[in-house]
């Protein structure tokens, strides 16, 4: 660490004299590399000199950070002595550099084909700490920061390779534990920790161990690995579409684990937005920007049905339109890992049941429950994880956070198959109860074709099927002008003549949307209860009940014989 002190004015004067003659224009290249503010698309990516993490920001904030950084670098790194000449020089360099940001700052992008400087998030094998970035897979430091200590201000200037963008870090000085995650299997590490906690405490391991017991109060290695993958999910720097929901009654250790071992050591501090606020709060993107974690572990008793639209959007892509109250919307990146909890799986209902959305949900069911009479200790092989409400026993011992990181990296290694594949949870306690719609019905409706409907109508022919189709002009299809012009006068002729001819059907429905009677459709495909309401929820459509006898009709379009429900 470089210490800026008054320890030797000769050394400082020589350093300064070496730089004083340098023309102002020559400073641009050096400072563009070191100022830690970059042009990023329409906005800026900036890191204040005493911070380690970058954030996305707009022009005014970027300029403010830039000026702070330039003064810090010039005053404390390059010109550690002060006199009028040096002060003048510094001022000239700063004003020259900040005249126009877009032409002096480096332009960066995360995309390789962007035509500008490519920057990267840290590799998934690495975790950033206050004293450097450690590569757990290769068991060595990726790099340590250039730290300039400003003794007079009790502050630091952190600098590191501008090819890497650190967006969050653990605010602790990390020292490797001496275990290589590549060479020591997880089960062996668990045994090492079991031995360790015989003589010492490690609440992180003990909580993980307790939370990994199954419904029969038996420790499950798979549950432990699943939990490690969830910790790994929080450590991953790459964008990940998954989100995690922890299911279980209170007192199961989830708050203690995340609050005690993780949240209080992470910079920037994780946000705490409920899953409901993703549905209701239109400014949710503003609160998630520049945050790497959103952890909300409170649960209510209400059953909540989620439309899932915004949640799907935010978890689907890193590139988002950010909306902040009183600020014009702008494009930015959101790379935030979400963890929520629920008491009961029955009380969470997601309307979106597409495969694309369903695979994002990862559920972990916790069966362990702490009680103050410690009855849980008699039920199985549990550790006595009793601590105060303030969690000070966990928070004060940094080893808990270090173990969180090690187990998390084991999990990340497992979910990415040794950091080769994309992240994929190996386990998921998710089941169909988490949706309020019938998945099998949805699958069947996705296979629904006009041919199925026509075949069904012809098979179950009765006069009532007259009312199966209405035109969008709200006329019965069989007696509409178009059908009559084709020469089909009666319903029977329509049912067997017109609908029996595949070309007729294809031509007519290619050009015309129609209303379809859902009650009659229900009879054709043999579905029984709550058919209409299930379809309404599945496709988020309105139903017309004005056409015939108060019966529900849905508008459909036929594409390549496939029936699509539309609004």
């Amino acid at each position: 660490m470089r210490k800026i002190t008054a320890i030797n004015d000769i050394a400082n004067a020589v350093d300064a004299s070496n730089l004083l003659d340098r023309p102002i224009s020559n400073w641009r290249d050096i400072l563009a590399e070191e100022c830690q503010v970059f042009v990023f698309g329409e906005n800026y990516l900036a890191k204040r000199f005493d911070a380690i993490n970058f954030k996305f920001c707009e022009k005014n904030e970027a300029k403010e950070v830039l000026i702070d950084n330039l003064y810090a670098l010039l005053r404390y790194k390059y010109f550690p002595i002060t006199n009028e000449e040096i002060d003048d020089k510094i001022q000239k360099i700063v004003s020259n550099f900040t005249l126009n940001l877009k032409t002096t700052l480096k332009k960066v992008s995360f995309d390789a084909d962007s035509g500008c400087n490519v920057v990267h998030y840290l590799p998934d094998t690495c975790v950033a700490f206050r004293n450097g970035v450690y590569d757990f897979w290769n068991d060595k430091w990726l790099f340590k920061y250039d730290v300039t200590y400003i003794e007079a201000k009790q502050n630091y200037i952190y600098q590191y390779n501008p090819d890497y963008i650190i967006t969050w870090y653990f605010n602790l000085d990390f020292e490797p534990f001496g275990i290589s995650i590549k060479d020591t299997p997880l089960d062996e590490f668990i045994e090492i920790m079991k031995d360790y906690v015989k003589e010492d405490r490690n609440y992180c391991f003990e909580l993980l161990y307790n939370m990994s017991h199954d419904i029969d109060n038996k420790f499950s290695y798979n549950k432990f690995l699943h939990l490690c993958e969830i910790l790994g999910f929080t450590l991953q720097t790459s964008f990940n579409q998954n989100f995690v929901i922890l299911i279980g009654n209170g007192g199961n250790g989830k708050n203690s684990l995340f609050d005690g071992c993780f949240v209080h050591k992470v910079v920037p501090t994780p946000t705490s937005n409920s899953i409901e606020s993703f549905e209701k709060d239109k400014f949710i993107t503003g609160t998630l920007e520049n945050k790497a974690h959103n952890i909300y572990l409170e649960t209510g008793d209400n059953t909540i049905e989620f439309n899932s639209e915004r949640l799907k959007n935010i978890t689907g892509s890193m590139y988002q339109t950010v909306e902040i109250k009183g600020v014009q919307k702008y494009s930015s990146l959101i790379n935030c890992k979400n963890i929520w909890s629920a008491n009961d799986q029955e009380k969470l209902k997601f309307r979106d049941t597409t495969q694309g959305f369903r695979r994002r949900i990862n559920i972990y069911e916790i069966f362990y429950s702490w009680d103050d009479k410690k009855r849980f200790l008699k039920k199985g092989d549990y550790y006595d994880t009793t601590f105060s409400d303030s969690l000070k026993e966990i928070k004060q011992d940094v080893f808990n956070t270090i173990m969180y990181v090690y187990f998390g990296m084991y999990g990340l290694m497992s979910a990415t198959k040794n950091f080769i594949n994309n992240f994929k949870f190996s386990f998921n306690d998710w089941n169909l109860q988490y949706t309020d719609v019938d998945i099998s019905l949805k699958d069947r409706l996705e296979q629904l074709t006009m041919k199925t409907i026509v075949d069904g109508l012809q098979r179950n022919f009765s006069e009532e099927f007259k009312y199966l189709f209405y035109t969008t002009n709200k006329r019965l299809l069989y007696s509409s002008v178009d059908i009559k012009n084709l020469g089909y006068k009666t319903f029977k002729e329509f049912a067997f003549g017109f609908l029996g001819n595949e070309d007729n059907v294809a031509n007519y429905f290619l050009e015309n949307d129609v209303y379809l009677n859902l009650k009659l459709l229900q009879r054709i495909i043999g579905e029984s209860s709550s058919f209409t309401s299930k379809i309404k929820k599945l496709y988020n459509i309105k139903v017309n009940t004005q056409l015939y006898n108060n019966q529900p009709y849905a508008k459909i379009r036929v594409l390549n014989d496939k029936v699509l429900f539309i609004n």
Partner: protein
Amino acid sequence: MKKRKRKENITLLNTEEFQEKKEQYLKLLKESPQYSLLVDPENKYSFGEDEKTFIGLYCEFKNIELAALLSKIDIDKAMTVYGSYAAQQEIRRINNAMYQVQFSNKMLSLEQIGGYLSSLITDNVPRGDRITSSEKVQVINTLLKIHEMLSNASLRPGDIIDIDIEEELSTLSLDSLKKLLDSSNNVELKKDKEEIIEEFKKFNNLTDEDISYLKSLSVTELLKLLNEVNTKLEEEKSE
């Protein structure tokens, strides 16, 4: 009165304050990783051994091609290493450290010259070495100049870095000492140096720190370095 003031100035070099400051400075250069001439002494950048060798050799010869040949890495890798943030930081730091070493050497040489001159004006000199009264005035003036430079080391270090101490100190005559300290000579010297530095620039783009360091060398040292680079390059290429 004037005489007493001169005497006070002459004894300034031996004051505890100056000696303490100087010792502190030399200790800092020796012990602080900031001024270490080794590549990445704190292992901040996780360089490979070959990369460290390349950076060290670059700082020594200011020539990417020669550093690549001597460290046995191909030129493409050498260019990548040279252009990396970590290497640039280290090159900048080492250059600055070398500049500091140059300064400290010159400071010590000046002090040594000051000591030698002081001994000439004391009464304890053997009869054969004694100098005339007019020479004494010259010596005292030169001595004052040296004292001024040293006492201003933390205010105007450029004055010291700009002088070229090339000859063996013991063989320096009073005339040549005076010439050495005369700033009017610097104009010519600077011109010569710039011409030689242009030769170095033909190999690659030198950083500002590279140039500052090269400027701190004397003309003879610069020529010697340039000659060494050229000879080694030819040798390596012929192998």
